[in-house]
């Protein structure tokens, strides 16, 4: 019996499990293989929709579905909290005491926000990284009548890199429409030396900040929040007073991969950029090439959980899942991985909202940086259509 266990029921885990089950249809029917997803909540959230809750264009109940409704009928679902991954014994342990042995393991445990790592974050900062937080931000925007808005980022990496820029542009457009723009000063704090990590996207976005009159501060990661004085203090000790603070909270990978000795404290799993196999150590030893670091032959990672230099976004998981599925299925079937899905090229494709009903498209891979087209209505509509058609398409592997 070949057991495939997938940890996590987000975009990556769900899609990978469905694609693996499709490729292993015959051995599953013969009782020679099984595919099991383990998810802590048993429900699947469409996280890119949270930003639209904050902008008053989406409802929280539209963004969640039971995980079981998205899985192929050949995939088993276990709702439970994984407490340990034992690669030596090839088994995962759950909080319930249940132990699931595996021959092939896929880790798609994603990223989590840790606002508690920044003092005063919860009491002072608004964000849009959960449905509840996004609803709270919506209320704060509704109550806003003018003043200083600061939009910042408390640590890299974080989910959906364009999101804080999109929020800055969308909030600016909303305030203009509400007649509050003249009474509002908006400042965007970029933690790095440009507006966005990818240079070509930064070149596209920087003039938009200028056009919209949003002050762009560079090398200005959010280091502290002084709740008494209502001031953000950056990593470089500069102060920015706010009436409304919107801040990306610090992020980390899942605790279980740290506790299991697979990832460093950050929780980002060291992952092979092409095979998506998990590496046995985070960094090569002095004098050792990365290619010489041993990989676990039967442990894969995808989505936010990896340490790959790519966007932590559903799109990344979406394009990684076919590679994981092909490699896992090949191992179960005793053949070599084949075709275009044998190796990951770093492909990512996502939309980028710039406000006023316009958007652009970021399409790139390891070797080709994005060349975002001039923002227009088409790409904004593309994002809206994608959001609406997500449920019957992406998790089920139909696009």
């Amino acid at each position: 019996m070949q057991r495939v266990v997938v940890l996590g029921g987000g975009v990556g885990g769900t899609l990978a499990a469905n694609l693996i089950a499709r490729k292993l249809k015959k051995p599953i029917a013969a009782g020679d293989a099984s595919v099991t997803v383990v998810d802590v909540t048993g429900s699947h959230a469409y996280q890119p929709g949270y930003m639209y809750i904050a902008m008053g264009q989406e409802r929280a109940e539209n963004l969640v579905r039971p995980e079981g409704s998205l899985l192929d009928h050949n995939v088993n679902l276990v709702v439970g909290d994984v407490t340990r991954i034992d690669t030596a014994a090839q088994a995962v342990e759950l909080a319930s005491g249940e132990r699931l042995p595996y021959q092939q393991l896929v880790i798609a445990t994603g990223s989590r926000i840790v606002p508690e790592e920044l003092a005063n974050f919860d009491q002072e900062a608004q964000h849009f990284y959960s449905a509840e937080a996004a609803m709270k931000l919506r209320k704060a925007l509704d109550a806003f009548t003018g003043g200083k808005i600061v939009i910042g980022i408390a640590g890299i990496p974080y989910k959906c890199p364009p999101a804080p820029l999109e929020v800055a542009f969308l909030v600016e457009a909303e305030l203009r429409q509400r007649g509050l723009r003249d009474k509002t000063e908006i400042t965007f704090l970029s933690p790095i030396n440009r507006a966005f990590t990818i240079e070509s996207v930064s070149e596209m976005a920087t003039p938009i900040f200028e056009e919209k009159g949003i002050r762009l501060e560079l090398l200005a990661g959010v280091g502290e929040i002084d709740a008494e004085r209502k001031v953000v203090i950056t990593d470089a000790f500069e102060e920015h007073p706010y009436d409304l603070l919107i801040c990306v909270p610090p992020h980390r990978g899942a605790q279980v991969v740290v506790d299991s000795g697979l990832a460093p404290k950050s929780g980002w799993l060291p992952t092979d950029r092409h095979t998506l196999q998990v590496k046995t150590v985070a960094k090569p030893a002095p004098g050792q090439a990365d290619a010489d670091v041993p990989r676990y032959a039967n442990v894969y990672a995808l989505g936010d959980t990896t340490d790959l230099p790519l966007s932590k976004a559903g799109s990344t998981a979406h394009f990684e899942a076919p590679i994981v599925a092909e490699r896992v299925a090949a191992a179960v079937l005793g053949r070599e991985p084949e075709g275009k899905d044998a190796s990951y090229t770093g492909r990512v494709m996502c939309f980028f909202e710039v406000g006023d009903g316009k958007g652009t498209l970021l399409k790139f891979d390891y070797d080709h940086p994005p060349k975002p087209p001039k923002p227009n209505q088409l790409w904004h509509l593309g994002k809206i259509v994608f959001n609406k058609t997500y449920w019957p398409t992406v998790p089920k592997g139909r696009v």
């Binding site: 790095i192 030396n193 990590t197 990593d235 230099p309």
Partner: protein
Amino acid sequence: MTETTTPQVSRTIDARGSFCPGPLMELIRGMKESEVGEVIAVLSTDKGSKTDIPKWVGKAGHNLIGVFVRDGYDEIIVEKVR
């Protein structure tokens, strides 16, 4: 740049293999965990580090001791001042 005046490095952050802005972010994290007066070295293979890290160091008011080209990587040495 000569190294004759380089003070004792108290902590080395090996960010080789990490892409922009990884080395800068690792330095910022390292500075937060260090005491004033400590000297921190960042090892980076990312070409952007040579410009981005000194800019941040200047903005933050720390002391840039030097940027040294090593064999296949750069070593940027910074003293925590505040």
